[in-house]
Symmetry: C2
Subunit: 339 residues, 2 copies
């Protein structure tokens, strides 16, 4: 074993608004030893995801919050370094909810063994993992873009958005991304092959989006909310579908925006255009995971799906990475290289 000292990051306090470094605390603990039926994992990669902001709050949500003083939760990829578990041996690479810590004891529950030959292990946290499956569910189960339809996705250079747009392209849709900044927009167009990408920071964002969608919008894959949603909504076509995957622009909000209250206008639009707005969480759809891994893995090997990772070095920098993610500072799937 490399060291006797393990490290973890715990939730020190709940943030009000944007999380700050002092909402987190780095702790050391003794590397545990696996008992009978247990294995010890050394974390290699941690995933940073927008949902983590919700876990830091005790507002009602779909999952209980992280307790103050407890390690931050999250998915990770690690290497088994000791095992008394019959199904795992030292050297195995595994995916699981490892949390923000360098070493984790496990009884094997919830772990999945990865084949490092099939794809880089970090992809199990992104394009071939939860974010990829999230995109797949939103596109294939809710959005269902048809050939020739216009598909718009916000946070288009991110882990979920980049995959959603590429899946819609494969389905034959015209795909327009929305991203923050010209650099991301260029990547979305040039590398991911979207038909267009609009910078939501541009002063004339709404006009540009309208110009990029001359036939209106049939599917809007919602990751962002707020002003982006307000610009999209008037462009929705009859029978448009809006899978709601996230509203990252709102996660740090401490109060509702000022009036007028646009809900009545929203409901009238939903009615007259027969729009479907549907929230979803990937956790309700793990039954589709097998089909997804197989399909997406093939597309990745064939070069039909591309991805980009934004790597933060060191567990101690994970808080900074999450704070940046919530500001839209990451460029691609946000990962922490732990070891």
């Amino acid at each position: 074993m490399a060291t006797d000292i393990a490290r973890r990051i715990v939730l020190a306090s709940r943030p009000a608004g944007e999380p700050a470094p002092d909402n987190f605390r780095l702790e050391e603990f003794r590397v545990p030893s696996p008992g009978p039926g247990e294995l010890l994992i050394r974390t290699r990669w941690l995933s940073l995801d927008p949902y983590m902001r919700g876990r830091m709050s005790d507002a009602p949500s779909y999952m209980p919050p992280v307790a103050v003083g407890a390690p931050m939760e999250g998915g990770g990829v690690g290497e088994v370094i000791a095992s008394s578990h019959p199904e795992y041996a030292a050297g195995d690479i595994v995916l699981g909810r490892l949390g923000w810590q360098t070493h984790v004891l496990s009884n094997g529950a919830g772990l999945r063994k990865l084949d490092p030959e099939a794809a880089p292990p970090s992809t199990a946290l992104g394009v071939l993992g939860m974010p990829g499956l999230t995109a797949y569910i939103g596109v294939t189960e809710i959005g269902r873009p048809k050939a020739g339809e216009t598909f718009v996705v916000a946070a288009a250079s991110g882990a979920v958005g980049s995959m959603a747009g590429q899946l819609a392209r494969i389905a034959g849709a015209r795909v327009v991304g929305i991203a923050g900044g010209e650099k991301k927009c260029r990547y979305v167009k040039d590398e991911l092959g979207f038909d267009d990408c609009i910078d939501h920071r541009a002063a004339d964002f709404a006009e540009r989006l309208r110009a990029a969608c001359p036939a209106g919008i049939d599917v809007y894959f919602e990751n962002v909310g707020g002003k982006v949603f307000e610009a999209v909504f008037p462009l929705l076509n009859l029978h448009a579908r809006v899978p709601v995957c996230g509203v990252i622009s709102q996660y740090n909000a401490t109060e509702l925006p000022p009036g007028p209250n646009l809900v009545p206008a929203l409901m009238r639009g939903i009615l007259t255009k027969r729009i479907t707005i549907q929230g979803f969480l990937v956790g309700d759809h793990f039954g589709k995971a097998g089909e997804f891994y197989k399909q997406a893995g093939a597309w990745l090997r064939e070069g039909r799906i591309r991805y980009r990772e934004d790597v933060i070095e060191g567990l101690e920098n994970a808080p900074r990475g999450l704070i940046g993610l919530l500001r839209g500072e990451n460029f691609g799937k946000a990962l922490v290289r732990v070891a």
Copy 2:
């Protein structure tokens, strides 16, 4: 023919806010004579429906507006009084988009012959007509209440709401209505057999609704919008479905309500509870009409479905009837007895 003089009500001007009597004008015209292939219908019943408010405005909607100076549109039931059409004979009772007029020439397009022995002809405008089919689509295609789930419907004593709730009862749901005033609520509970009905005019409406839905709300059939929707939304359960059929509380609105803007809260709720909000219009679903007529006709004969009509006497009183409908003053399916 009873008279040479026919009457119609035309749109005199577009209302701003609540329609007023002077937005309508009664006109006389000579009763026309059917040419070859035509038939002449004398209107017996006109239907008054909330959607008519939309047709009076030139704001973009799912149908073009009624032109100023043109007869108000609407469904009606009439008797054929002269025919040169091979499929119609004097004495036939027909359903069609007759408009607000005592006499109508037709080439037969869009007409449906009614069997007055099967059900009272006026029911073809209500429980066995467009409002009934609307309820059927919203319940069976979108809301899909399961046995034991809680189904809430607004405007519960109206043509659509009363049918929606009864259909949900037949599906085995616990059904809670929302209506305006104690008299309507008593009818909804005692005559229609809903499990409960809450008066949205009560000062403690939101609290009463919560108490009436101890297991939350799985399906909310939306006819009203505004404050009613705001009281319902926090009670929605995981995976709740919200078929949006109408938002009558908003149809006369001339401006949006003051802030805060509740859209971000709505979108977060949609996400965390995986709610589906889906607008629909019966016109997209006429393919289901045959199945509906058969099924609903049988339930009506068996006494499993009840209905109530609110009859206004005389074409000249149709404007007053529509104005009252938009205020919630009708009690049951609003009809005008024309002849």
